[in-house]
């Protein structure tokens, strides 16, 4: 079975023209216009066009999966769209050992978990202090200071950071956690402060009348209330830390401590024709994020929308 002609060029064209008809149709149906004859077919044609676009989205993922399960003999024939025949897991076995997957996974996991936890705690701490003491100059200026990083892309400060982390023994996953957290901080503080302002101060005052200290108030009352924002902040931090290539590749000096995305460059230099091994390795590196997404779709979609609009 071969479906070679489906290449990105034609599909891209489909995406544009398809969405075009979709837009005009959908407004007629979506806007509550009186029933027309073509309405039902219009609805279906939009659906069909969107399904075709969705195929474009899924195609590279399908190729990754089918290549990963091929034998090395079948993988080199250049036909990316054929199904594996015979079905083989040799690629996974080899990739597991070549990239030392368990170590890579552990490193990625440490970096991601560390960045997520650090970002949520540091940003919610700082945001709480800032919002509750907005009338004090120190806190107000700190807010704008922290926000400043939103305008500093990593490449701008990367060279001195590489040097400094090297000098202070932070050229490892810990250094990446620290830097990744700092680059997530401004955006996260912005989200938390916006949310904190919407929590009525009376709620807190009643807790304080009962004798709670600021520390207790934060952990028992404020932090639980922040949960939806923490989820949004956490999702952004997760996606960044798990998928990033640039920062770990530059900061972590010991190849054995590299995260999964960086380990994949093995297949660009050596083993570059073992396609089944390479794709099995890609799949193993991508799968955790995709699986996590499938379980938390709603949260991710809502979180990203909310985050992007507030930021």
């Amino acid at each position: 079975m071969s479906t070679i002609p489906l290449n990105p060029d034609t599909t891209a064209k489909k995406a544009t023209s398809g969405a075009d008809t979709g837009s005009t149709r959908s407004i007629t149906t979506g806007g509550g216009t009186p029933p027309m004859k073509g309405r039902k077919s219009g609805r279906w044609s939009t659906t069909v066009i969107l399904i075709l676009c969705a195929v474009t989205v899924l195609l590279p993922l399908y190729v990754t999966i089918s290549m990963a399960f091929k034998t090395s003999g079948q993988a080199v024939d250049g036909n990316a769209f054929s199904l594996p025949a015979p079905f083989s897991i040799d690629g996974f076995v080899q990739a597991w050992e070549l990239t030392r997957f368990p170590v890579g996974f552990a490193m990625s996991f440490i970096v991601t978990a560390g960045t997520v936890i650090f970002t949520i705690i540091l940003a919610s701490f700082a945001s709480y202090a800032i919002v509750r003491n907005w009338d004090h100059r120190l806190f107000r200026y700190s807010f704008f200071y922290l926000l400043g990083a939103m305008f500093i892309p990593f490449p701008v400060v990367a060279l001195p950071q590489i040097q400094l982390t090297g000098r202070f023994g932070l050229d490892n996953p810990l250094g990446v956690i620290l830097l990744a957290t700092m680059f997530q901080l401004s955006f996260s503080v912005l989200l938390f402060t916006a949310f904190l302002r919407s929590i009525p101060i009376e709620l807190e005052e009643s807790a304080r009348i009962d004798g709670a200290t600021t520390w207790q108030t934060f952990w028992k009352l404020i932090f639980p209330l922040l949960a939806p924002m923490s989820a949004t902040v956490g999702i952004f931090a997760f996606l960044y830390a798990w998928n990033d290539f640039m920062m770990p590749s530059l900061i972590i000096s010991d190849a054995d401590m590299q995260t999964l995305p960086v380990r994949q460059n093995l297949f660009q230099s050596q083993f570059s024709s073992d396609y089944n091994v390479a794709f099995a390795s890609y799949l193993m590196a991508m799968a955790p994020a995709i699986i996590a997404y499938l379980f938390a779709q709603r949260w991710v979609m809502e979180g990203v929308t909310q985050g992007a609009l507030k930021g």
Partner: protein
């Protein structure tokens, strides 16, 4: 940015002003301190060090001397740097347009009455959770092996050689992969925008006899204009920093035809042009600031979002 504005106005509503001399619970300093300290050490200090060394002839280690603005003058007349700036801006511009046009149309489709609405939305968001460098490797394989094979089978000479090997076309591959990955985020914002338009606006328009095209340009687009601005500015800023996808797809080649600003700066570390590339980084930083100011001034006026 709306947050900033409302906080400022929020504190201005009286009542709080007299409290400004009240005693602050010391624990608040403990809450604020770690973030500010780490931020200073991790970003501010490296930033100042970088700007400082951009005025020297340092190669990253060893002795150095002040050279004033020599690096900046040299950078302005360096064809390698100029071409990477030109490439990056051109790439960012094209990508912003492609991504926003496709994402907007998809959003209109996905908010209309269709089957499998939630399932389709879920699929369209998937690329956002996929690592840029890995998907770039996958596309690299498709561009280098599958597309030429397909071109050969169909007898289309244009496709027979990999577009990534063609200095004039390689950027197109980068645009396609970047678009594939960043359409979801843009799409979600447009969906939020479209859902915020009340349905009776369209009802009124159709009673007045507006056709669907008129409704699109007369109602939908003006009402989501704020979302378009957000998407364009956020996208442009992201694409200017392009690194992962280019490294995975072309490595900056063929030659230096697809080398982005980020890649140029990073290479300075490997080739010993430390101070020189810090000058490039500083210039890049200034440009980013200009865009950020633009972003602030545009989004501040839109508190309705």
């Amino acid at each position: 940015m709306t947050a900033t504005k409302s906080i400022v106005t929020g504190s201005g509503t009286g009542a709080k002003a007299p409290r400004s001399r009240r005693k602050i619970d010391p624990i608040y300093y403990f809450f604020l301190f770690p973030a500010v300290l780490l931020f200073t050490l991790a970003i501010t200090v490296p930033g100042i060090i970088g700007i400082f060394f951009s005025l020297t002839d340092s190669i990253g280690i060893g002795q150095w001397e002040f050279t004033g603005f020599t690096n900046y003058v040299a950078a302005f007349s360096d064809p390698a740097i100029l071409s990477s700036f030109l490439f990056t801006f051109g790439f960012a511009l094209v990508t912003v347009i492609v991504v926003n046009v496709i994402a907007f149309m998809l959003a209109v489709g996905l908010t209309s009455k269709i089957r499998f609405k939630m399932g389709l939305r879920a699929i369209f968001v998937i690329p956002m959770v996929v690592s840029g460098i890995i998907i770039a490797y996958v596309f690299q394989f498709l561009f280098q092996n599958s597309l030429p094979a397909a071109g050969g089978a169909l007898g289309i000479p244009f496709l027979e050689t990999s577009i990534l090997a063609n200095p004039d076309l390689a950027w197109l591959g980068i645009v396609i992969v970047t678009a594939w990955q960043s359409i979801p985020g843009t799409l979600l914002i447009y969906i939020a925008g479209l859902l915020s338009i009340p349905g009776d606006v369209y009802e009124a328009a159709s009673i007045d006899g507006a056709n669907s095209r008129q409704q699109l340009f007369g109602i939908t687009l003006p009402l989501v204009a704020g979302y378009v601005v957000i998407n364009v500015i956020l996208g442009f800023k992201n694409y200017l920093n392009a690194y992962d996808i280019i490294v995975g797809l072309t490595g900056g080649g063929p030659g230096t035809s697809t080398r982005s600003i980020s890649m140029t700066i990073i290479r300075g570390f490997q080739t010993g042009d430390y101070a020189y590339q810090m000058a490039t980084a500083t210039l890049f930083f200034i440009i980013t600031i200009i865009i950020a100011v633009l972003q602030l001034s545009v989004t501040r006026g839109r508190s309705n979002i």
